[in-house]
C-alpha cells in the first residue's frame, strides 16, 4: 500500500462520512465536495487523468453547486428540531453494514486471485478522443441526447407552475 493512496483514501472516506453525518445541510454539501475531490485524486493515482479531471469538472464544478443551490432554494439549511435522521434509521444502518460486510468479505476472500501488478498504459487524451468518435460514437450520441433531454426535463419540472401556465 502506497502512502499516497492512504492519504487519498482517508480524505475520500472522511469526506463521505462527514457528508452523511453532519447536521447542517450546507456543511454536508461542502463535505461532499471534499469526497469528490478525494475520488478525483484516486482516479489520478490510477493513471486515469481524463476521468479524474472530468470528475473535478462535473462533480465539483456542477453537481456540488447544484446541490448547494437546491439546499438554499428549499430552506434545507435549517436543521429540523426532531433530528436529521429518519425514524427507522437503525434498519438502514444495519442494511448498510450488512452490505459492507458482504463486499469486504468478497474482496478479502478473493485477494489472492486479484491482479497485483499491471502494465502501465500510456493513454493520451488524443487516444481517448479518437475512441470516443470511433468505437464509442453511439454511446456518445446517446449520452448527448440524454443530457439534453434531462436538462430540459429538469427545467420543466422545477419551473414555477404559474410561469408555465402563462
Amino acid at each position: 500500500m502506497s502512502f499516497v493512496f492512504w492519504i487519498f483514501a482517508v480524505l475520500t472516506v472522511a469526506g463521505a462520512l462527514a457528508a452523511v453525518l453532519l447536521k447542517n445541510t450546507v456543511h454536508c454539501a461542502l463535505a461532499l465536495t471534499v469526497a469528490f475531490a478525494g475520488l478525483a485524486l484516486l482516479f489520478l493515482d490510477l493513471d486515469a487523468q481524463f476521468a479524474g479531471f472530468a470528475q473535478i469538472l462535473v462533480y465539483i464544478g456542477a453537481v456540488a453547486i447544484l446541490v448547494v443551490f437546491a439546499i438554499l432554494l428549499t430552506r434545507g439549511s435549517e436543521t429540523p428540531k426532531d433530528g436529521v435522521f429518519s425514524k427507522n434509521w437503525f434498519v438502514g444502518l444495519v442494511i448498510a453494514a450488512g452490505v459492507f460486510a458482504v463486499f469486504a468479505w468478497a474482496v478479502l476472500a478473493s485477494a489472492n486471485a486479484l491482479p497485483h501488478e499491471m502494465a502501465t498504459p500510456a493513454v493520451t487524451v488524443a487516444e481517448i478522443g479518437q475512441a470516443l468518435i470511433g468505437r464509442y460514437v453511439l454511446p456518445l450520441e446517446i449520452i448527448a441526447l440524454l443530457l439534453t433531454a434531462a436538462l430540459i426535463g429538469a427545467v420543466i419540472v422545477a419551473m414555477d407552475e404559474k410561469e408555465r401556465a402563462r
Binding site: 493512496f5 475520488l39 435522521f85 463486499f103 491482479p115 499491471m118 493513454v123 481517448i128 449520452i143
Partner: protein, 106 residues
Amino acid sequence: MVGSTPLGGFLLVAALLFSIGLAGALTRRNAILVLIGIELMLNAANLNLIAFWRYGPHPELLTGMMFAIFSIAVAAAEAAVGLGLVISIYRHAHTTDLDLMNRMKG
C-alpha cells in the same frame, strides 16, 4: 507508485464509500441528503470501474474508463433531474422531509 497498491485496496475503499452512501440514503430525512448518498454510491461504482480498467489485462482498449466517463455524464443528468424534482416537491409540500411525504401511503 501505483503498482505498490493492490487492487483490493481500491475495491475496499469503493465498498466503504458505497456503504456510507447507502447508509446516508436510507437514514437521512432530507431528500437532498438522500440524493447526496446516491451520488456517493454512483461514485463508488466509478472507482471500481476505473480500478478494474487499470489492473485489467487490456487497459489500452479503454473500456472501463469509457464506462466511467459515461457513468459520470449519466450521474450529472440524474442529479439535475433529482434536484429539480426536490424543488418541485418543495413547492407543493413546503418541506423536503421524507418522513412527512406520506400522502401516497395506504
